[in-house]
C-alpha cells in the first residue's frame, strides 16, 4: 500500500472540495513526503488543498484573472520540479506562496514589456465583474491599476485574503514593516479615490 493510500484511510487527509483550505500539518507533511517519493496522487492532493490560496496570492499581484490562472499553473509546475529541495518540516503553504508570488511577478514583468508595444485597449478586464459598470468600481479598479504592484499585492493579500503582515512579508520577500507601510499608502490612495467618487455621485 502506498503512503498516499495509507494516508487516505486517515480521515481528513485527502482534502474534499468543501474544505480545501482546512488542513492538518501532520497530514500535509505525509502528503509532502509521499509526493517527494514520486506519488503523483499525493501531489494532486496538495494541488487541491492549495489551489485557492495560490490563486488568491497570484490574483493579488497580476492585473487579471487569466494571468492569475497562468501564474498558478506555472507555480505548481515549478513546485513539483523543486519538491526534492523542500524540507518537509517547513510550512508547504508558505513555500508555495513564495513560488506563486514569483511566478505572478514574472508574468507582470512580461506583461509590462508586452503592453509597452501594444495599444492601451488591450489591457484585460478582471474576472467576471457584474458591477463593473458602476462608476465607483470602475474608478477603484483604475486606482488599483495605478498602484505599484507591491502595494496592490499587499492591500489585496491583507484586506481581501486576510494574510497577516508577517505572512505577506514571507510571500513577497519583503520585511514586515515594509508590508505595513505599503498597506498604509495603498489604503490612503484608494480611500482618496473612494471619497472623491462618493462626493461626485
Amino acid at each position: 500500500m502506498t503512503a498516499f493510500a495509507q494516508a487516505k484511510r486517515s480521515p481528513g487527509l485527502v482534502p474534499s472540495r468543501a474544505r480545501v483550505v482546512a488542513e492538518r500539518p501532520a497530514d500535509e507533511r505525509a502528503l509532502v513526503l509521499a509526493a517527494q517519493r514520486g506519488e503523483r496522487e499525493a501531489f494532486s492532493a496538495l494541488v487541491r488543498t492549495h489551489e485557492r490560496r495560490a490563486y488568491a496570492v497570484a490574483r493579488a499581484i497580476v492585473v487579471n484573472h487569466e494571468d492569475a490562472e497562468d501564474a498558478v499553473q506555472e507555480a505548481f509546475l515549478h513546485a513539483y520540479r523543486a519538491l526534492h529541495r523542500f524540507l518537509p518540516d517547513q510550512a508547504f503553504g508558505a513555500w508555495l506562496h513564495r513560488i506563486v508570488a514569483n511566478a505572478a511577478l514574472d508574468i507582470t514583468r512580461r506583461r509590462k514589456v508586452r503592453d509597452a508595444d501594444e495599444l492601451p485597449e488591450t489591457v484585460a478586464s478582471p474576472f467576471r465583474d457584474p458591477a463593473e459598470s458602476s462608476e465607483l468600481r470602475r474608478r477603484l479598479q483604475e486606482a488599483l491599476d495605478t498602484l505599484p504592484p507591491r502595494q496592490r499585492a499587499v492591500i489585496v493579500l491583507h484586506d481581501v485574503e486576510g494574510f497577516k503582515h508577517a505572512e505577506i512579508g514571507v510571500t513577497l520577500g519583503i520585511p514586515e514593516g515594509t508590508a505595513r507601510s505599503d498597506l498604509h499608502y495603498a489604503r490612503s490612495q484608494l480611500r482618496e479615490v473612494l471619497g472623491s467618487v462618493r462626493s461626485e455621485l
Binding site: 494541488v47 487541491r48 489551489e51 499553473q73 477603484l140 484608494l190 480611500r191 473612494l194
Partner: protein, 124 residues
C-alpha cells in the same frame, strides 16, 4: 524603555474592503476549480513526459560513450593505415617504378596514369 516603531497607524476602511473583495472575488463555481486542478495536473504530466524523454538512462549513456569511443579509435586506425599505405606506395614508386600499379590507381580515382603517379609521389 523605548517602543519599537511599527510603521504608520493602519486605519481599516470597511467600505474599501468590501469593494476590494468584490473586485478580487475568486471564482465560486466548484467546477472551475476542478478544471483548474486538471489543467495543473495535465501540465505537470506533460512536463514529466518531456523531462523523461530528454533524460537518458545512465547505463545507456555509458554504452553510448563506449561505442562513440570505439568508433573514434577505429576511424583513427583506418586513417593511419591508409596514410601508411600511401607512403609505402610512394616509396616503392621511387625505389621500383615498375612495381606501381598505375592503371588500377588511376581507375579507382578516375584520373590519368600521369595524375595517379603524381598523387602517389606527393602522398595526396
Amino acid at each position: 524603555m523605548t517602543q519599537e516603531y511599527r510603521g504608520p497607524e493602519l486605519v481599516r476602511d470597511d467600505d474599501l474592503t468590501r469593494e476590494l473583495r468584490s473586485i478580487y472575488a475568486a471564482p465560486s463555481d466548484a467546477s472551475w476549480w476542478d478544471a483548474l486542478e486538471q489543467r495543473i495536473n495535465a501540465r505537470i504530466d506533460a512536463a514529466v513526459i518531456a523531462d523523461e524523454w530528454w533524460t537518458v538512462p545512465e547505463r545507456w549513456m555509458r554504452a553510448g560513450l563506449i561505442a562513440a569511443g570505439l568508433a573514434v579509435i577505429v576511424a583513427g586506425a583506418m586513417i593511419v593505415r591508409s596514410q601508411v599505405q600511401v607512403t609505402r606506395m610512394a616509396y616503392q614508386t621511387v625505389v621500383d617504378p615498375a612495381s606501381m600499379d598505375l592503371p588500377e590507381v588511376a581507375r579507382g580515382a578516375a584520373m590519368t596514369e600521369q595524375q595517379a603517379r603524381l598523387r602517389i609521389l606527393t602522398g595526396r
